[in-house]
């Protein structure tokens, strides 16, 4: 009797607990379903989450007016974005539409959590042809329908302080050797002034430069079959070229190896503590927030060694940027496609590129985030002729973390006075590669 009563109570409680969970789930899906509401996770593109909300708010209201679909906006900071996406992927409880860093495109595609943009879906958003081909290529692996389409375009450029260069009688560098010489001339540690500033504690920055300088030296991080080749001579030379800025060339304040937050390196550049900065074009936001005018700095493509090493390419950037994806579990795919079409329309691109300092990803767009025409032309030219996508392989995200952290480690060694040789670079890259092999 007693036992039966207890078991009944346990069952009732257990069922009610399950029902409570089920109820929560049901209400979430209904909110994004019947009532024509989309949830949109936007990445943080402006100076703060609030600033982004202020920029996107009126545009989403416009979309609601046009289509009757309400969009619930959540702006998510970069440190949390990937973890939140992985969480949503694992649980199946996510937004309808979301921004992703375009370098994650192939890795996230492999999870199968996103809607593939097949011919029908592409037609619904206005067709593949409306996008800049280089930007569209970042959407996923070659040979499969992409699972993301470009939204904001970014590329690297070399920012230089016009006044510091003029005072030293220097011209903006056109070769890596000229860059080294200019940086050396502008490095005066006693005045706390350095030729170059780096974000040396950020693994993403480190892996970007490992890739760019690897390309310049004829290296590829992956072979044709998708196997990692981090220790190829070109990759090793590329990483060494970057680490030497801190080690051998000594043109970087060693403290830079602790910089891992976006505004730190542009901040040093804006304050005249460094004469050059290699950054994506959205650094403009920070530079101007720190008091620089767009006429105070110039931008040129990051130069290559001269002559170009064997197999090397004239690459100054990878095709960076933000892509848009639709979550597979969306209850409202038609509305989600409408929203993607809206966000990637030439009109919205023109409106959003300005506050988010982005390059247009649709054809016919003009660079409008800066009033400095030379800067706009320089960035547009890099995207058009000197940018290649990062490897479009599922293991890309592991490449980023393992190689990025290896390079950070080498930078830290160089900053603490160790002589980082080719052998050490190769050993660090070998360790990164071993982790890929065993984990994959």
């Amino acid at each position: 009797m007693k036992a039966r009563l207890i078991s009944t109570v346990v069952t009732v409680l257990a069922v009610s607990a399950t029902a409570a969970c089920g109820g929560g789930g049901a209400s979430t899906s209904s909110s994004s379903g019947a009532s024509k509401t989309l949830t949109y996770w936007a990445s943080n593109q402006g100076s703060s989450l609030q600033a982004d909300q202020a920029v996107l708010g009126p545009e989403l209201a416009k979309f609601q007016k046009q289509t009757g679909v309400k969009v619930n906006l959540q702006v998510i900071g970069w440190p949390d974005l990937l973890n939140k996406i992985l969480g949503a992927t694992t649980s199946g409880q996510g937004p309808d539409v979301l921004n992703i860093g375009n370098t994650w495109a192939a890795s996230l595609q492999a999870t199968g959590a996103f809607v593939p943009f097949d011919t029908k879906a592409l037609t619904a958003i206005g067709g593949q042809d409306k996008f800049v081909p280089a930007s569209f290529a970042t959407g996923g692996v070659v040979g499969k329908p992409v699972t993301s389409v470009p939204l904001y375009g970014l590329v690297y450029g070399l920012y230089y302080n016009k006044k510091m260069f003029a005072d030293a009688g220097l011209q903006p560098p056109t070769t890596w050797q000229e860059l080294q010489a200019a940086a050396a001339k502008l490095t005066i540690p006693a005045k706390n002034q350095y030729g170059m500033v780096l974000e040396g504690g950020s693994y993403t920055e480190s892996v970007h430069f490992a890739f760019i300088f690897g390309q310049q030296n004829g290296g590829q991080p992956f072979d044709a079959s998708g196997k990692p080749t981090f220790t190829s001579p070109g990759m090793v030379s590329g990483v060494k070229q970057y680490v030497d800025l801190v080690g051998k060339d000594k043109v970087v304040n060693p403290s830079n190896v602790q910089y891992k937050n976006g505004p730190e390196a542009p901040g040093d550049f804006a304050k005249g503590k460094a004469a050059m900065l290699m950054s994506q074009n959205n650094a403009d936001n920070t530079l101007q927030a720190d008091g620089m005018k767009s006429t105070d700095y110039g931008v040129v493509a990051i130069p290559t060694p001269s002559p170009l090493p064997a197999g090397g390419k004239d690459v100054a950037s990878f095709v960076a940027g933000i892509n848009l994806s639709i979550f597979k579990n969306t209850k409202n795919q038609a509305a989600a496609l409408q929203f993607v079409k809206f966000m990637t329309s030439p009109e919205e691109q023109t409106i959003l590129d300005k506050p988010f300092t982005a390059l247009p990803v649709v054809k016919g767009g003009t660079v409008n985030f800066t009033d400095n025409k030379a800067e706009a032309d320089a960035f547009a030219a890099v995207l058009a002729t000197k940018a290649v996508p990062l490897p479009l392989v599922p293991a890309e995200s592991e490449f980023e973390t393992n190689v990025g952290n290896a390079v950070n480690g080498l930078l830290a060694e160089a900053a603490t006075g160790k002589n980082v040789t080719t052998t050490e670079v190769k050993a660090a890259l070998q360790a990164a590669q071993d982790k890929m092999a065993a984990a994959g």
Binding site: M1, K2, L5, I6, V9, V10, L13, A14, A17, N83, L86, T89, T90, G92, S107, L108, A110, T111, G112, A113, G201, Y203, N253, P254, S255, V257, Q258, K260, K328, P394, S397, E398, T401, N402, N405, N408, G409, A412, E413, A415, T416, A431, D434, K435, A438, A439, G440
Partner: protein, 320 residues
Amino acid sequence: MTTTNPTRAAVVAAPSRRRRPPWKGATPYLLVLPAVVLELLIHIIPMLVGIWMSFIQLTQFFIANWSQAPFVGLDNYKIALNFSSSIGQALFHSFTVSILYTLIVVGLAWLFGMSAAAVLQSGFRGRGGLRTLFLVPYSLPIYAGVITWSFMLQRDNGLVNHVLVNNLHILGSSPFWLIGNNAFFSMAIVALWRSWPFAFLMIMAGMQSIPDEVYQAAAVDGASVWQQLRHITLGMLRPVNVVLILMLFLWTFNDFNTPFVLFGATPPPSADLISIHIYDNSFINWNFGLGAAMSVLLLLFLLVVTGLYLLITNRRSRRA
């Protein structure tokens, strides 16, 4: 006569009332039921899921659909424990770093807590103020405390280098505190700063339960302060210390917050504690199966150590 009737009736009725609903027997079960259900939901079920995850190849290809992930048996464990490979070596390195870190932090936290509690045991002016002051690190939110340390430990603008290099001229050039081997000591100092007040609090509470008469009797018998500390204080604090050291050990060995807030998701190798190492393998490398296998190994290690510790300490106390 008539007045006795109801009483008798009540007495007669009492046994039958006791028999009526079996609530009395069920009450204890009902009282623990919410705790059991929550314990199941929050601890036991996720733990079992974690153990299951360690046997499947839960990589980026399968996180959207777990049931598709291939069963790989002990493969994840083999990868984690293959000490001739990069992953195994890194795990072993992380394990040794965690052991060293735990020994230093727990040892010193206990020593500091013990010393402070012993000093503050005798009444003097300002004792209350000092007690409060000592508890500040423990009462601060972890994030706020550790992020402040990370500002202080910056090379160029940090307070530590400002004092050591610019003011006191103890060091010639500014060292890095958050990269290279110094990162380990920085992390240990921050953890010590955070955990010793807890040791202090526990030991202080334990000391207050030691009767003064014991000390007085010892003093009459001619025991010195050191002898009193050794034989009375330490002896009577034994049960407190056994629990305290175990708790400090578990917290410190599993510490995630200190390295994560000081260094971010990927700490320098010298400060690569086991929890954050597992986090990296799961979330940074997107290999949740391998991360889960490492977590299970960590759980087993901690269970064995805790079991042995309790066995040894219990046996000793029984003998005593």
